[in-house]
């Protein structure tokens, strides 16, 4: 037992959780916590906006699979991190956000910089705490980290009134604690896994749909073993992109609104799907009714509430997908099941894949999105981490940037938060400083958090920003071209700002690449740089992302390049 302030207890408890850095911004209501940075071994990384601090923590969390931590002050600081918290919640990313709050006695009095952040954040957090006495803090931190990283991960908010930070108490740091209503672990479900194997063996056209849960649980080896043993073609959701090496012969890539043509085609032809860690989002499956009648669904998920939420499954396997895939691998081995022959289905899948590789029409220009992203892929080492912003560039990355090493591709897929990619890349680089980290960006999204360049430069976190610059809010422009008879409203960015000069003004390197040769040299320069680098790549503002499944339609109704 030690006597200390709430702020000191917070930092001590976080050190015990293994926290090495905090992304954040100080303000009036969290100054006592900030003062503790002078006396502890946790590094503070200053963001220039609380939303970016949250995205940095998110990027760190997704890559390290440990909660990233962000700090913000009360009131506007707290409301600013809400978008970051909601983003982490939508994508099940582990995060602990700590906000300052006005003193307990001032709560509810509309004090300066007071906001009811607990009330506001409730729908977008996995859990929220507001300790009202200093002595609660060690247990709150312990529980907060546990909740954030176990089961289906998510963001936890800890809102600490200023007097709770400054008050002293006898602090007890215990490893033991109990959360009665929280059961993140389920036993391996052998019975249903066996049923699933039978169903997959019986099916004529089985397929695997790997979702983000496969990446969160790092079930890469298990997924590959199941796919190879049963000769199952693998499609992924966009969030599951890279759960399976996209260079593998059985890989078809992501399905969805901007899925790969071959993936969407095969998904609609399959008669049985092993769906792993996915919630069947509208962006992934479109309207499912068109083909679900002939499709048997095996649904594996850690979250029981996902079973039957968007899709009814014939077989449900609840629990950590890695644990249950391991059971599947083991059972297949025991039963000596190993498919070697290529069924007519697998042959058909491979032919379809080859057809689309040859026949998908690409933009004819030198700086078409496919050519630009394939150049990036060619030059990036396999272990490099890629994040994206949100928009056309994101979907082009999904189409044309093949993930070689599983778990190296991250994007804001659920909430679709523009501005996520760059700060998330900074967080990712902090988690894995030894691998190149690239934010595949569009000019519209990058504008939203571009001031994180200050963080990248001053904190010596050399990430690469790869801007496919069409000088517009490209995805919105594409919808206006497609659905609103080319009435272009509010989408033209008019080449403002100049991203090379912008980068230089922050002390980063800015390079403009107007040909593939220039791009080649720019990427090589960036990879060798020890400072953040922005590569600005002007592209054709008229280029659409295709294929395109219009919202509210089925994957069968893909719009293809004409």
């Amino acid at each position: 037992m030690q006597n200390m302030t709430g702020a000191k207890a917070l930092m001590t408890a976080m050190e015990k959780e293994g926290v090495k850095q905090v992304f954040g911004l100080p303000g009036g209501a969290n100054l006592p916590m900030y003062d503790e940075f002078a006396r502890c071994n946790i590094r503070h990384i200053l963001a220039r906006h609380e939303q970016s601090a949250a995205h940095m923590a998110d990027g760190f969390g997704r890559v390290s699979r440990k909660p990233g931590v962000c700090f913000a002050t009360s009131g506007p600081g707290a409301t600013n991190i809400l978008t970051g918290i909601a983003t982490a919640q939508a994508d099940s990313a582990p995060m602990v956000a700590v906000t300052g709050q006005v003193p307990v006695g001032m709560i509810g009095k509309d004090a300066f910089q007071e906001s009811d952040i607990i009330g506001m954040a409730n729908p977008v957090v996995k859990y929220a705490f507001q300790p009202r006495t200093a002595k609660e803090i060690p247990e709150v931190v312990k529980k907060g980290f546990f909740i954030a990283e176990t089961g289906r991960p998510g963001p936890v908010l800890i809102d600490i009134p200023k007097d709770v930070q400054t008050n002293e108490a006898e602090m007890i740091f215990q490893d033991e604690f109990k959360i009665q209503g929280y059961h993140p672990w389920a036993d391996p479900d052998i019975v249903n896994v066996e049923k699933a194997i039978d169903m997959l063996l019986y099916a004529k056209k089985p397929i695997i749909l790997a979702g983000g849960g496969t990446i969160i649980s790092s079930a890469f080896a298990e997924l590959q073993a199941v796919a190879e043993t049963l000769m199952l073609p693998v499609v992924t959701t966009f969030k599951g992109k890279g759960a399976f090496p996209e260079t593998h012969p059985l890989s078809l890539g992501p399905i969805g609104m901007h899925g790969h043509a071959e993936a969407n085609k095969m998904m609609t032809e399959a008669d049985c799907v092993l769906a792993i860690g996915t919630r069947f989002s509208d962006r992934s499956v479109g309207t499912f009714e068109a083909f679900e009648k002939r499709l048997k669904i095996i649904h594996m998920d850690v979250d029981p509430a996902e079973i039957g939420k968007n899709q009814t499954a014939q077989i449900a396997v609840i629990g950590d997908v890695r644990v249950n895939l391991r059971v599947m691998v083991k059972l297949l081995l025991q039963k000596a099941i190993k498919k070697t022959d290529e069924s007519p289905w697998v042959r058909h899948v491979k032919e379809t894949k080859a057809y689309w590789k040859e026949n998908l029409k690409l933009h004819p220009g030198e700086m078409g999105a496919a050519k630009v992203l394939r150049k990036l892929r060619e030059l990036l080492p396999a272990e490099s981490i890629v994040t994206t912003e949100v928009g056309q560039h994101q979907m082009w990355a999904s189409l044309f940037y093949d993930v070689i090493q599983p778990g190296t591709f991250f994007s804001s897929t659920g909430l679709g938060t523009m501005g996520w990619g760059f700060p998330a890349a900074i967080g990712a680089k902090v988690a894995k400083p030894d691998v190149p980290v690239v934010d595949i960006a569009g000019d519209g999204s990058f504008s939203m958090t571009e001031n994180s360049l200050a963080t990248a430069v001053l904190e010596d976190i050399p990430v690469i920003v790869f801007i496919l610059n069409n000088s517009s809010l490209g995805m919105v422009a594409q919808w206006q071209r497609t659905f609103y008879n080319r009435r272009m409203i509010g989408v033209d960015q008019k080449g403002c700002p100049d991203y090379v000069k912008l980068a230089e003004s922050y002390g980063a390197q800015g390079i403009r690449a107007q040909s593939i040769a220039e791009l080649d040299s720019a990427i090589k320069t960036a990879l060798g740089n020890n400072v953040a680098t922005v590569i600005d790549i002007p592209i054709d503002p008229e280029e659409d992302v295709l294929p395109f499944v219009a919202p509210g339609t089925s994957l069968e109704d893909m719009i293809l390049p004409s």
Partner: protein, 160 residues
């Protein structure tokens, strides 16, 4: 279908807010809700009646169960459950006979009569919601001045 859900929750501030918020954000309906502390002051029991098809009710139960503050969530089988709601009716008295007529109805439903005034009478009826609805229809012709209802409280019958 109409469903009775029984929730055992931690007795902490803000839980009622979270439960009702969940219903709103997931587009579910609350038909009635009642909350009270249990024999153990660490817990409260919430009884929620709701409407939806089977899939929706399953989802509601799963989403409530996922909440960290809920210790136990049960979808009660109404045939194996005692469920009652307390309702107070203020009914207009227009004719000399009204009071007697209403008294008769109240007797038939096992309701209690409170506060008889010259122009109105107050009735307390504790019953299943369907009976309360039936009673309401019967007294409607007299003129219902006001109704207050508590929402359903429910307990499962013991097995033996």
């Amino acid at each position: 279908m109409w469903a009775i859900l029984s929730l055992l929750v931690e007795n902490k501030p803000g839980i009622l807010f979270k439960v009702t918020h969940l219903f709103r954000s997931r587009n579910f309906n609350i038909d009635s809700i009642s909350v009270g502390v249990t024999e153990n002051p660490d817990y409260s029991k919430m009884t929620i009646t709701t409407l939806g098809d089977k899939r929706q009710i399953d989802q509601i139960v799963k989403q409530l169960d996922k909440m960290i503050d809920t210790v136990k969530v049960e979808h009660l089988d109404e045939h194996k459950t005692v469920y009652r709601e307390l309702s107070l009716f203020k009914i207009r008295l227009s004719n000399a006979n009204d009071s007697m007529e209403i008294n008769k109805l109240a007797n038939a439903y096992g309701a209690k009569v409170h506060d008889v005034k010259k122009d109105s009478i107050m009735i307390e009826l504790t019953a299943a919601p369907a009976q309360i609805k039936a009673f309401k229809e019967l007294v409607r012709p007299f003129g219902i001045l006001d109704i207050a209802r508590t929402g359903v409280a429910a307990l499962q019958r013991s097995k033996a």
